[in-house]
Symmetry: C2
Subunit: 206 residues, 2 copies
């Protein structure tokens, strides 16, 4: 890394390099780009980031990012209120929404239980989920937490909390991705895809 000719530039590189996936070399490139922009434009950039950090809200029902107390999905009267899809974070909501295949509600946990990282169940929104389910309107909970030791632990923890509440608890299907070749799939995924095979007719949907 080159020695920088200015303290201001150095501070900016230090700050930019804190962002994930941005090394010091990229940070320097971004800082030099900032120097070539209009002051007003960088004012907008800086203030937009600050405003995002200060003013963002989370939906008080599903904990998705929202500009209002209740998010667009939870307040949409056309959504199926009898289904809740439980996900790890807001990116998962966006990914599932993108498919256009799901019309129920969501519940964003805000992470997974992780003893190593010191994340305990009460730091997640699990208790709020149990409260929502206790309302009685919900007929199905779809667990869509990423598969990992922590993710599977979290799924099982939630399963134990709600299994006696008279509703269907499902998980999203794991299997060979559409377009992938069998010979390159890992054994666990291929094994699950055989165990959880579906009627041919249902594979013709979507």
């Amino acid at each position: 890394m080159h020695k920088l000719p200015s303290r201001l530039l150095e501070q900016a590189v230090d700050e930019l390099a804190k962002m994930p996936g941005i090394g010091r070399r990229t940070a320097l490139r971004l800082a030099l780009w900032i120097l070539r922009q209009e002051k007003e434009d960088i004012g907008i950039l800086g203030n937009t980031l600050i405003k995002l950090s200060e003013s963002i809200c989370y939906c008080e029902q599903c904990f998705n990012i929202s500009d209002h107390a209740v998010c667009g999905i939870c307040s949409d009267p056309t959504r199926d209120r009898s289904r809740i899809c439980v996900v790890q974070d807001v990116r998962d909501v966006m990914a599932i929404e993108q498919t256009g295949q799901y019309h129920g509600l969501y519940h964003v946990l805000g992470g997974v239980i992780s003893p190593i990282e010191g994340i305990t169940p009460d730091e997640l929104t699990i208790e709020a989920l149990v409260q929502r389910v206790a309302g009685g309107e919900v007929k199905e909970i779809i667990m869509a937490i990423n598969p990992s030791i922590e993710g599977d632990t979290t799924t099982f923890y939630i399963y134990r909390k709600i299994k006696d509440m008279y509703m269907v608890i499902s998980t999203i299907a794991r299997g060979i991705a559409v377009g992938d070749e069998l010979e390159y799939a890992d054994e666990v995924t291929l094994g699950r895809s055989i165990l959880n095979r579906v009627p041919y007719e249902s594979s013709l949907r979507g």
Copy 2:
């Protein structure tokens, strides 16, 4: 790209995606990272970028980035004031400084002449360079502008402006990079490296 659940988030992604090399997907990842940080830390990030944009100075002699009216290199009494290395932008100064092989001064043009991009000679610091040279202290001008049609045009334009001013005008050596293999070098570079061959003894330096 997923539909975003919040206007604030969308604005932040729009702003971040204006940065070079940052696509909308990366911008979203950065915006979601911002949401997980402390408000104070993002305040520092945003304000550092604004301060960089608002308060950065350029050295009034060489036009390098500087915290003062005259930069650290120009004000260093140990530097050889009889040589000026002419470069396109501040990154080139950093790169040459990093080598530790040059102890003269610099002159940052701020770009190259480019009719296509509408950059004319008077938008660069060429006139200031001519003034510096006219001072009479300078014995050598080292042209270190990147080789391209625009770069070579700029080098030639400057050469014509200063060629009658009784000093050595040199360009940095072009050749096979140290560590590169001859068979993979392009013809022009390999050709120039033969034409501009140097005595074996001088290749033993550095």
